[in-house]
Structure formats: C-alpha cells, structure tokens
C-alpha cells in the first residue's frame, strides 16, 4: 500500500517538474487558479454582500462612484460594490463553465468511444446525430432552447437550464476527436492481444482505450470549459442569465442596460469583461499544455532521456547488490 502511494507521489512530483518548465502552462494555471481561489474565498475578500448598497454620509446610495471614491473597483448604478459583484459572479460563471464542460465531456466521450469502438451501424447513427448538431448554428439554437425551457415552468434555476443546454450542445467536437483516436487505437495490436488474453469489450475500452485517450479528454475538457464560460457570458449578456445570481455576463448586461458606457463608468463594464478573458485564456493555455504533457508517448524516450536512463541503471545496480 505504502509503496503504491510513494509511487503515486513520485509521479506527481515528476508531473510537477515537467509542468513547471512550461511557462505558458504555468501562466494558464495561474490565471485559472487565481479565479478559482477568488471564487471560493469570496466572502473573505470583501466585507460586503453582492446585494449590499453603499451609501454616502447623508445616507444616499453611492451610484457610479469611481474607484477613486470607493473600494478597489467603484460602485454600479445602484451603489453596489463592483469588486464584490465580480468575485461573487466568478462563482456563477465558473460553476456553469465547469459543470457544462463536464457534461459535454461525458456525453462527447461516450458518443466518441461507442461510435469509434463498435463501428458499423452504431457509428453511423451516432455520427449522423453529431453532424446534425454540428451544422445547426449554436447561438440561435441555444436562444430558442433556453427560452422554450424557461416557458415550461420547470421549477429549476435558470442556471441549471443553462448548464444542461450548453453541456448537451457542445460535446460534438469532443465526440469527433475521440472517435478518430479510438478508430486508430482499436486497430493496434495490443487491443488484439487484450482480446487474446480473454478480455471483453468493456474491459478493453476501460483498460486499453480510455487511458490512451484520457490526455485528449482532459485537455479537451479544459478547452470546453473555456467555451462554456464564454457561451454562458454571451447568453447572460443577452439577458438569459439569472438576475438573482449574476454571473460576469449578467453584470455586463446590467452595465449595458444602465448606460454605464455613456456615464463613463468603465469600472462597471471593464472588470467583468477582463475577467472573462482572464479565465478563458487561462483555460486555453492550460488545456494545450496539459495535452502535451499527459501524453506519455511525448515524454522521456530511453534514447533521449539521458538522466532518466542513468537513474534506472543505478536502481538496477542497487538491486543487484541487494540480492547478492
């Protein structure tokens, strides 16, 4: 047991060492992590609630106060603290992004693996479904779907509707990507070997195909999360968000509706916009670097990794000495 955990620790350490060397990956991780931490620690980072209204000495709401007058980022049209709104909004944006990304990953992987592995009629049916979804323009479809679902009085938060609609529409590229990988992997001889040792389809998919495409899935998920955050922001900006749980897109919508631009209140509309760029850029950088790293075929070949090879030989020698 102990041996297993040290082995795990060692591989984690190795992962970190490779990761640290990649500046872009570090930047991506930094951007994503700061946002996640800010979202989690939101109550500790601000003394206010997002609904609290700032007042001046006379008790009047402090509307459109510039950062010079109030707090780090000023106030909005109703006198609410923009910094507070921003970090509480991060919670909403990230939640929608992560959950929708996760749903898209699960659906896309299931479709991709099933279509690629079983082939034939199943492949055809699944891929034609994917094609249909792929050619419908995203935004109009989502607008119609979200609006229709809202009308249906489902008694769920509009955010839940958003999560499912985004998650169930943005899996198509994942599915195609994964299918193409599965198609090449299932023809490899080690799959034939697995079948020869008596493995069934489920076992082969779990043990031999999934680990091979896992890097792809992980990297793709991070990229899809960024798409999901962007789409959510767009929808919220168009007024399809939940006004009681404002995300960054909702804040932008408010700013736009309440003439923040004509009032010159840049502190109202710039921060949420930059936050969206911040986290989606982080996801993209992180996703690309993760894909490069999690693929064992791209690391340490025994002819290249001089240092690694020496270490292994040292181990061998130590082992021989121990057994002698």
């Amino acid at each position: 047991m102990g041996e297993g955990s040290t082995r795990f620790k060692r591989s984690l350490l190795e992962f970190w060492r490779t990761f640290r060397a990649n500046k872009l990956g570090l930047l991506g991780a930094f951007l994503v992590m700061t946002t996640v931490i800010a979202a989690i620690l939101a109550p500790a980072l601000t003394p206010y609630q997002p609904t609290d209204i700032m007042r001046d000495a006379a008790g009047h709401p402090l509307t459109f106060a510039s950062p010079a007058v109030h707090g780090p980022l000023g106030t909005d049209d109703a006198g609410r603290d923009v910094w507070t709104e921003l970090i509480y909004g991060a919670r909403i944006s990230l939640t929608v992004g992560f959950l929708a990304g996760f749903i898209a990953m699960v659906v896309g992987s299931l479709f991709g693996i099933t279509a690629g592995y079983y082939g034939g009629g199943i492949d055809n049916a699944l891929m034609r479904t994917t094609d249909v979804l792929l050619v419908i323009p995203d935004l109009p479809l989502i607008l119609v779907l979200v609006a229709t679902l809202r009308q249906m009085q489902l008694h769920v938060s509009p955010l839940v509707v958003l999560i499912f609609v985004i998650g169930l529409l943005y899996w198509t590229s994942t599915a195609r990507l994964i299918r193409s990988q599965v198609l090449t992997i299932k023809e490899r001889q080690f799959v034939a070997r697995a079948r020869a040792i008596g493995a069934g389809d489920n076992y082969i998919i779990r043990k031999h195909i999934l680990p091979q495409i896992m890097p792809l899935i992980v990297a793709n998920t991070v990229l899809i999360i960024s798409t999901a955050i962007l789409v959510e922001s767009g929808l919220a900006f168009l007024g399809l968000g939940d006004p009681t749980q404002p995300s960054w897109g909702t804040i932008l919508n408010f700013a736009f509706d309440r003439n923040a631009i004509t009032n010159g209140a840049w502190w109202f509309y710039l921060p949420p916009g930059l936050a969206i760029v911040w986290v989606s850029l982080g996801c993209v950088l992180l996703g690309n670097v993760l894909e490069e790293m999690l693929n064992p075929r791209l690391t340490g070949h025994h002819l290249e990794g001089g240092e690694k090879m020496v270490a292994v030989q040292k181990q061998d020698r130590e082992h021989e000495r121990a057994s002698a």
Binding site: R7, G119, R188, Q189, F190, A192, R193, A194, R195, A196, I197, G198, A199, G200, Y203, K207, H208, P211, Q212, P296, R297, H301, H302, V312, Q315, D316, H319, E320
Partner: protein, 331 residues
C-alpha cells in the same frame, strides 16, 4: 496413440476486401487446413508470406479481424470444437488454455501501461489469484524469461527489442496454458537474440511441458526445435509430417524447392536455388493446384484439378497428384 491436444479439421476462412467503387472481393485465406498436434509437441508452421500461417493461428483462437470469417471446419481442442462455443465461453479458453505470442512485440504491448501490469492483466482478468499472488507470479514470470524485477514498472519503450519479446513470452505463460502459439517470435531480432528467444522457448517447453505451434520463415529453426512440420502454400496445407519426414523425405515439389532454397552448411559456395514466380493472390487463385504455375514437374492434371491431401505414411500427408497411388495401405 494418445488423444491430440489440438486437432484442426478442414478449416476454411475468408476475408472480405472492400474497395470503394468496386464490388467486394473475397480472399480465401485458408482452405481445408487440417493438422493434429499432441500435448507437449512442437509443430512448425512454415511457408512464404501470405500463405495463411498467422491466419491459421488467429482462426484457431477465433481472433480474426472484423472482415475475416471462418466458413467451415473444426478446431478441436481437447476434443471440444471451439468454433461452436459462444464468445463468452471462448474467452475462458483464451490464455488459460491457449495463448499467443504476437508477431512484432512492440505493437502487441500497450505503450502507456507498465510491462508488469500488462503481464498481471491476464491473470487478474481470469480471477486466478489474489493481488499478492499475482505480484509474486509476475516477478516469477519475468525472472523465468530473464528480466530483472526492477524492470517490472517500466514502460515498453524502455525495453529493448529482445526484452519486449521475452516479456511477451512471459505474458503468454501467465495463466499456465497447455498450448502456445508463437507467431514469428524471432523476426526483427538480431541473431544472438533470436537464439536466446528460441532457447527460452525450448527451455519453457521442457520445463512446463506445453505444446507450441511455431510460425516461422526459418527452416533451420524448425529443424532444430520442431517435432513435426506443416508446410503451407496459398492457404492450403501442401505437406505435413514429422521433422524427419519433411526434411529427409519431402514429397511435395513445393517443400522440396523450399528446402533447396536454404543454404547448406556442408556444401559452401553452392548456388542457392530459388522458386521462380510469386505466391498466388488469394483473390485470384489459379485453377487446379495452387502451386502449379510455379511447379517445374507439373502434369496437365495439376492445372485442372486441385490435388486432395494424400496420406503417404503414418503422419505424413502431401497434397500432390504426383504422389497419388502411393497412399499408405494401412490407412
């Protein structure tokens, strides 16, 4: 005579070749392949590329690729016809009863799985032992094939070619099968490693008493390690018999030419013979005997009628019109 371990009877298999814009073509990869083997025996399967050696092995394990199909015949293992089993029942036979060392060990190992885990896989898949026992067994197997235990947690790309091949053999032995199919275990290895791998196979056979079907191009290897030999040509068995019958009393013209095309150490400097022409395409088989277009002693009959397998002596069968009338009367 004891019960044969594996008895292949008139096994016929075909591949459907799809081509865009053209009608599907059928390649008859195996036709009426029959041979027997006893427990603990080594059978050599020889022939040119594309003559159906690998297909025979895959068909016997029912592992033909999706476009391949066994159309008729029997594969009797310990008296049970494997072709009548369900896929689930067949899985129980794979690896526990018969295992295979694939051609080209690099491709047969999963590049992202530790070698030790891949060996353990077969054992855990058949629920034969608990975890500690599996670990012990993996180490035991690695040491049996001469791989230090410190290499257990390495990935295939960290192994040399010979080590990978030996790891494959270790893997094949994991569930103590009674029958091992070795599909050109020595191709792509240098001569020293070839000798090591063959020595290993022989050692394993002697200590574990398992039967081996050895597919190879190398007739020298066959002479050295095999009890009996099956010579295949164009998806059919041209001749089969004991090593002595084949090497010293070959009856089929193809076997004779094949033997003549190997260098003889006792007569250095002699011109090597080769067989003119190329093996037949399996989609466009000649009428009559498949070897007839390349045969220098053919009769008119050979180009019209496919010769049936003729039993010449106990255990010696050849499919050639020239040998008809010489059947063993005892049969």
């Amino acid at each position: 005579m004891s019960e044969p371990l594996l008895s292949i009877r008139r096994l016929t298999a075909e591949f459907t070749l799809q081509q865009r814009g053209a009608p599907d073509r059928v390649a008859r990869a195996l036709e009426d392949v029959s041979f027997d083997m006893l427990p603990g025996q080594t059978v050599g399967l020889v022939g040119e590329s594309g003559c159906g050696k690998t297909t025979t092995l895959l068909a016997a394990m029912r592992l033909l690729p999706a476009n391949g199909r066994i159309t008729s015949g029997e594969v009797r293992y310990k008296g049970k016809d494997l072709l009548t089993l369900s896929e689930r029942e067949m899985r129980e036979y794979r690896w526990k009863e018969m295992s295979i060392v694939f051609q080209g060990a690099m491709n047969a190992l999963n590049p992202v799985m530790k070698v030790g885990d891949q060996i353990a896989e077969a054992i855990t898949l058949h629920h034969l032992m608990d975890r500690q026992q599996v670990e012990a067994r993996v180490i035991e197997l690695l040491e049996l094939v001469g791989i230090p235990r410190s290499r257990r947690d390495q990935y295939p790309h960290q192994y040399s070619g010979g080590m990978r091949q030996r790891a494959m053999i270790a893997m094949a032995l994991a569930c103590k099968p009674s029958l091992l199919f070795a599909d050109e275990p020595t191709t792509a290895l240098d001569v020293m490693i070839q000798a090591q791998v063959l020595e290993l196979l022989r050692h394993i056979q002697q200590t574990l008493g398992l039967a081996i079907v050895l597919v190879t191009h190398d007739l020298g290897v066959v002479a050295e390690v095999c009890d009996s030999v099956v010579v295949m040509y164009g998806g059919k068995v041209a001749e089969c018999g004991t090593a002595d019958q084949i090497y010293n009393h070959a009856q089929h013209p193809y076997t004779q030419r094949l033997l003549a095309s190997f260098p003889d150490l006792e007569r250095p400097g002699m011109q090597l013979a080769s067989i003119p022409g190329t093996p037949p395409r399996l989609t466009e088989l000649p009428s009559g005997c498949r070897f007839s277009p390349r045969c220098d002693v053919k009769l008119d009959l050979c180009m019209e009628v496919d010769p049936p397998a003729v039993k010449l002596e106990e255990g010696h069968v050849a499919a050639c019109h020239l040998r008809r009338g010489k059947e063993a009367r005892s049969a």
